[in-house]
Symmetry: C2
Subunit: 427 residues, 2 copies
């Protein structure tokens, strides 16, 4: 046994056939559901100009990127997310397109994450976006696609939950509490982490970092601790700015109820989403037990195209990665078993019938059947082992006597039943 | 209209939905044919250690690579070809696998080519390999897959031709001519380019660079100018070493005849393939008119796994890129027209029926139909335009009178025929 010199890079995956079959199981569900919603698939290059991300996310993103100078001295990077590429493509093309644009993609994305168990440096992400529609209908459609993608894979409302908030509502509520407008971004970024921090820590950060007074900070945390819509309605529902946003949210939930997806969604004011560019309803989908990180996240980002140099165009979308989802499916025993399968394996008894075997193989393949035959002279026993390894449903045995009579034996591998078939039918 | 700040990198492609549909048309044919031959799909990472390629191809390959140091100071590169990744994966796994291994992949590959019209810096390549079978049967199977992939896309033997040679036969012939063994690699690399150079240029290079004497050089060129098998048989068929190789080649062509693919293949001693690692039969597939570069190339490479640190395992495979193939399909008008299509568009006459529309949409989607509805209140005229843009085959009109009677109108968009359907059937 010679030494094995090369290993793959840490944080990257090989996909052997069983792993690739699982990946395709997920991709297949994503594509099927996208099609049922009338979304069209697009793609961009995995390598993009570095500026495309710096402009949107600031210099700090560079620390997480696989970036370098190419041989033409261009600063380039493997794409860490798809939305900037989408913005770039639409910036060049959307003016001539009927709105709303309904597009999806399944790109592989790359981030140089610190090495941790279960943290990869690449993953595939289902991206679905509705572009050019500012109404709540687009928000509804997008979260419904995400949930149906999960349902298609066997996950139900006992397994997953979409937690939904609205940045416009949160803004109206914080203003009503007495937070000044310029302090909102700071407050948002602390609220984004409120679930993972002790309450007194969040309380002091809201004051020290976001600059809220003690009463506003306490009031904010109090509201978040309930999280639901009722608390908001009870305390602030009589304020016009809040009431307007509440109407939108009610319409959103009513629509999801009409779609039959009401049991999958819950309002939760603590959902903010890390990225600055969201402007309206945002959501994150988690497994109910919260054993895993978020399966999906998205929302409305009406300013994004502007940030990459395009026109202001309303947009709403989400991303769903294959890694967390794959963990969840395995956890729920929803990962299908992989077994190779072909329709026919042709067993050659005498080498003088090899040409006949090839003719039958090719003719059956042309009719759409999956066919194998031994690539060299082999014992009948070995051929039957090979047929088993290939997952052959039937074996065509070219026995000399049968062939002399213009026939072959077709054996069903599951039942063991055999019948004779005329060669003229097979070739 | 705001400025468009960002462009994609030169040599890279965006895939808008019509372009993606064409890509999927090609990928779909590749995957369907692979499955019919019982090949299983695998994949590896687009980013690999730089050494993986330097070891096999030498330092000069680095000039064509998208390579850099990652944040962990590893020398890494975007993969320029798939075979080294396959070798790396099999090096770690093949010992426990039943042979022959029949695998395929559709990776995106990257090379920093000088900018020329029609030269891209990325392409997708169908890679098909049989690993662990040294017999000619594997060589036959592999070229047959490649040809059937082209047939599946509508190309016939009037369109494409596989030109086949055998490095072992060429070796035997050159030795018979009197070329010394150590001069063979030099001679091979000049023969590889003989078609693209004037005869006198090749003649002097065979002497000056490969070190052949004038008679051997002339004899070699004379043989190549005929190219076919008959010349070889006539002049060297009585030599044992040549006769052995000719037997293999005859078996190869007989097998392709038995498969029904004889009209697609031709022996041509001038096919050498640029890469050093081929060890036996090699082939290149061209369009018959030779308007384009090679559509596909491959052959036997029994030493490759050794070169990347693995065991010696026989292997044969090919690559077929999507770019040249796409040009050829367009040239032959075999690129299918792309039009979006959905099953139903639901027209909402009164907004009070929006919830009903959503319920019907979701129920139909759950039954597998592709469905859209207007995401906001719109005039009926605009909704019919949207239905047309979406390629709706049928429109479900929720008219107030019909809904009051528990019905909706279903209109076939092609024929214009209308029928009433009970809502209970639709939702």
């Amino acid at each position: 046994m010679s030494k094995q010199t090369f290993a793959r890079l840490p944080g990257f995956r090989d996909f052997l056939p069983d792993q690739l079959a699982f990946r395709e199981h997920i991709f297949g569900a994503w594509r099927a559901v996208s099609a049922r919603y009338g979304f069209q698939e697009y793609d961009g290059p995995p390598l993009e100009p570095l500026d495309l991300y710096v402009e949107k996310s600031g210099e700090e993103i560079v620390g997480q990127l696989y970036h370098f100078q190419d041989k033409g001295d261009r600063d380039v990077t493997l794409r860490p997310e798809m939305t900037p590429s989408l913005a770039r493509i639409l910036g060049a093309h959307h003016r001539s397109m009927a709105k709303p644009i309904r597009w999806f993609s399944v790109p592989q994305l790359f981030r140089y994450e610190r090495q941790q168990r279960g943290r990869l440096r690449e993953h595939y992400q289902w991206n679905v976006d509705v572009i050019g529609e500012e109404g709540i209908g687009a928000d509804v459609e997008v979260v419904a696609v995400a949930l149906d993608g999960l349902r298609e894979l066997g996950l139900g409302h006992d397994d997953v939950l979409a937690r939904v908030s609205d940045r416009r509502l949160l803004t109206a509520v914080l203003l009503a509490i007495g937070v000044e407008e310029e302090k909102l971004p700071g407050a948002f970024s602390i609220i984004d982490k409120v679930e993972r921090a002790p309450a007194d820590h969040s309380l002091s950060r809201l004051q020290a970092e976001a600059g809220l007074d003690e009463a506003s900070a306490a009031s904010t945390l109090d509201l978040l601790s309930q999280g639901g819509l009722d608390g908001v309605k009870g305390r602030f529902g009589d304020r016009d700015e809040v009431a307007t946003e509440l109407e939108h949210i009610d319409e959103y939930f009513d629509s999801l109820e009409a779609l039959g997806l009401g049991a999958f969604v819950e309002f939760d004011l603590r959902i903010v989403r890390g990225l600055d560019y969201y402007t309206g309803i945002v959501f994150e989908i988690f497994d109910r037990e919260r054993k895993f990180r978020a399966v999906s996240g998205g929302g409305r980002y009406d300013r994004l195209l502007e940030l990459v140099g395009g026109d202001p165009v309303p947009a709403v979308g989400f991303g769903m990665g294959d890694v967390v989802l794959g963990e969840l499916l395995r956890d729920r025993e929803l990962a299908p078993a992989h077994a190779p399968q072909i329709d026919y394996f042709i067993v050659i008894i005498g080498e003088e019938h090899r040409a006949l075997a090839l003719t039958i193989a090719h003719s059956q393949r042309d009719r759409g059947a999956a066919v194998q035959y031994p690539l060299r002279e082999q014992s009948v026993r070995k051929q039957f082992v090979a047929a088993g390894n290939a997952g052959a449903r039937k074996v065509i045995v070219l026995g000399p006597d049968e062939v002399a009579r213009g026939h072959a034996v077709v054996r069903d591998m599951a039942s063991g039943e055999e019948r004779e078939a005329p060669l003229d039918e097979l070739r």
